[in-house]
């Protein structure tokens, strides 16, 4: 294990940025989100939850897929994808929940047929995770078996009042470590163990630590789908996309064409099952009420996705929806209502 003094972190960022594009939580316009690092930017590793999750780096909210140009009868298709020969990048400060979320996305985008847009960014990225030391009441990653004190990733880091502690886990992680070696010194195991123990003690006190998810099984699909509780649970839903867009695992997108003076651009952008035009087809929409759209979102997270992915839920307990829903609806309420008998 290595360490670097907190006040030297800027040197570390600067060193990483020599060879990599560095995405890191940065405060901009009052809010902390992942942005490309540069000298003078206000890095905020202490921020527990960025508003948008790091998924944006692999699966941008809006992305051009290709361009079409027509001249007479000729149609030219221009590849506009991110160029692999550009700098690889580092995602720095990814929390355990958000890292697990990338695993959830990988199962979608890297399964056959592989989404090559996602894949090229994913492969070019080295992920440096950061252990949590100050979880808050809306956190419930431990309900999904995630250990916030020891996230995986290419490199795992821990931050305390004095130092950042650094441990490489993979080949990519070793390569990044080699690139910044001159700034690191050995040591820190004891401090890290102490932090893990103190954070674990906090984690046990999280109010949603022991959510009962036992009823969310493929065999209960119809019963859950028909449950009358969806009606009252969704009543206050505004049908906005906040929960979807702050969610680290939501993965739906729409593909559209945009006409410009220089041809047509085909782009994709995040879509939300909360929206009235989601999966709109020629005959109309398959889900005509907000209750149906609301149900779709949570059934996907808790039943459909796990039934296709060996029981892995596509919620990681980051709690962003708990904090951000304008009307205070969230997945915890759904789990408590439908998840099983052991929810109070």
């Amino acid at each position: 294990m290595f360490k670097i003094a907190k006040e030297r972190l800027n040197e570390l960022y600067s060193k990483i940025a020599e060879t990599f594009g560095l995405f890191i939580p940065i405060k901009k316009g009052g809010e902390v989100n992942y942005h490309v690092w540069g000298e003078g930017k206000e890095v905020s590793l202490e921020t527990l939850k960025t508003v948008k999750s790091p998924k944006n780096a692999f699966f941008p909210q809006s992305e051009n897929l290709m361009k079409f140009k027509t001249e007479g009868k000729n149609l030219e298709i221009i590849d506009v994808r991110w160029d692999k020969t550009e700098k690889p990048f580092v995602m720095f400060g990814v929390k355990a929940c958000d890292y697990k979320a990338i695993e959830v996305l990988d199962k979608v985008f890297l399964a056959d047929p592989v989404d090559t847009y996602y894949q090229s960014r994913r492969e070019a990225t080295t992920i440096v995770t950061l252990a949590c030391s100050r979880p808050e009441e809306s956190c419930f990653c431990n309900a999904f078996g995630i250990d916030a004190t020891a996230p995986q990733g290419d490199v795992t880091t821990w931050l305390d009042g004095e130092n950042l502690y650094w441990q490489a886990n993979t080949q990519k992680g070793e390569a990044l470590t080699a690139a910044v070696k001159e700034l690191l010194t050995e040591g820190g195991e004891e401090k890290v163990e102490a932090q893990k123990a103190s954070t674990k003690a906090i984690m046990e006190k999280l109010p949603f630590a022991s959510l009962d998810l036992s009823r969310f099984k493929p065999e209960n699909l119809n019963e859950l789908f028909e449950d009358p509780a969806w009606e009252s649970m969704s009543e206050a839903c505004l049908g906005c996309g906040t929960c979807t867009f702050v969610c680290p695992t939501c993965q739906c997108f729409d593909i559209r064409d945009f006409k410009t003076n220089e041809g047509v651009i085909r782009y994709r952008c995040w879509d939300s099952c909360m929206y009235s035009d989601f999966t709109l087809m020629a005959h109309g929409n398959s889900r005509t009420t907000q209750m149906q759209r609301f149900r779709q979102r949570f059934m996907h997270k808790l039943v459909y996705y796990p039934s296709q992915n060996d029981g892995l839920y596509s919620c990681v307990g980051c709690g962003r929806c708990v904090n951000k829903c304008p009307q205070k609806l969230n997945i915890v309420k759904v789990i408590k209502t439908l998840g099983g008998k052991n929810n109070d």
């Binding site: 316009g29 809010e31 100050r134 906090i202 009235s276 304008p326 609806l329």
Partner: protein, 326 residues
């Protein structure tokens, strides 16, 4: 506030029991003290979860678009600021007034949990409201914060404490108006150079994730189908793009609700990126006041509005610069 909550619950119970109303719209207990959610109650049993406290900031009036068309009468609890939205919705024929029983309720300003957490209480276990002081218990330490410092943005500049509509009221204590002048922030923006102002809005609007929460919560945004959701409109804009197109969405929306926006502040309350969207609306309100005489949308449910009536003395839009006639 506890006494107000009890009275409200009692009244809701009476109304449901007697059959005078089929449902009551209010707030229901959440997972914490600080996250009550809007809810409708159809039976006395359901009222067990009823709650009214400093975190009931949501404006409930827009729910009436659906609820007032249901079978039977709907009772609704409205804070003074929500009553403006109610009138505006009646004026625009979005809600059915005869089917609604308005209970005007006391409001002493609502709280912003994010502001409380930012004071170091980021594992809130308990909140207690003691007048101007809010006691907060958190896993990382207990303490107290001054209410003035943790009010929702919209409550800092509260328009006043007079309900613009009511069928009955539950007001047990005197209410205070906001301490800040609501046009102060607008004036700051007006005092900027064009470049500074552009940079300000650019930085703010770049944060937009296009979740549409501002639009969907807005009582003035009551179109059955928003033009931006309609693929047939040719301008359906789903992509979040931090170039000019994105900034246009908010500006177009502000134009569309101008003259109808009551300044309820919900747009800024719900924005996940805390973009001060209300400032766009407020700028238009200030301009309308200056150009056509003071006007407050939602003060009444009748009458013409400055932008839907014409007089010969009206300012010509082309002659107006920075809210003043050139």
């Amino acid at each position: 506030m506890r006494d107000v909550e009890l009275k409200m619950k009692e009244r809701a119970s009476e109304l449901l029991k007697s059959g005078e109303v089929a449902r009551v719209i209010g707030w229901k207990k959440g997972e914490f003290y600080h996250d009550p959610q809007p809810a409708s109650f159809e039976s006395v049993e359901e009222l067990n979860a009823f709650v009214y406290n400093g975190f009931c900031g949501a404006n409930l009036s827009k729910y009436l678009i659906q609820m007032s068309k249901k079978e039977g009468k709907t009772a609704i609890f409205l804070k003074p600021c929500d009553s403006y939205s109610f009138n505006q919705l009646v004026k625009e024929h979005r809600i059915v007034r005869e089917n609604i029983h308005v209970i005007a309720i006391e409001c002493q300003g609502k709280l912003d949990i994010e502001k409380i957490k930012a004071k170091g209480f980021d594992f809130v276990t308990e909140v207690e409201e003691n007048g101007d002081e809010i006691a907060v218990a958190s896993l990382y330490g207990n303490g107290a914060v001054q209410k003035d410092e943790v009010l929702l943005g919209k409550c800092e500049t509260c328009k006043g404490k007079v309900h613009q509509v009511k069928d009955e009221e539950i007001i047990l204590h005197e209410m205070q108006a906001g301490k800040k002048n609501r046009f102060e922030e607008v004036e700051k923006l007006e005092a900027m150079t064009e470049d500074e102002r552009f940079a300000f809005w650019r930085e703010q609007l770049q944060k937009c994730i296009r979740c549409n929460a501002c639009r969907n919560v807005c009582p003035a945004c009551s179109c059955l189908k928003c033009v931006f959701d309609n693929p047939a409109s040719g301008i359906a804009a789903k992509a979040n793009d931090d170039k000019f197109e994105e900034q246009l969405f908010h500006i177009i929306r502000a134009f569309h609700v101008s003259g109808r926006c009551t300044d309820c502040g919900e747009c800024s309350r719900v924005c996940p990126q805390n973009i001060p969207l209300h400032l766009l609306n407020r700028k238009f309100i200030k301009d309308i006041d200056g150009l056509y005489g003071e006007y407050q949308a939602g003060e009444t449910a009748e009458g013409k509005t400055p932008l839907t009536s014409y007089t010969e003395g009206d300012a010509e839009p082309n002659d107006v610069v920075n809210g003043e006639v050139r």
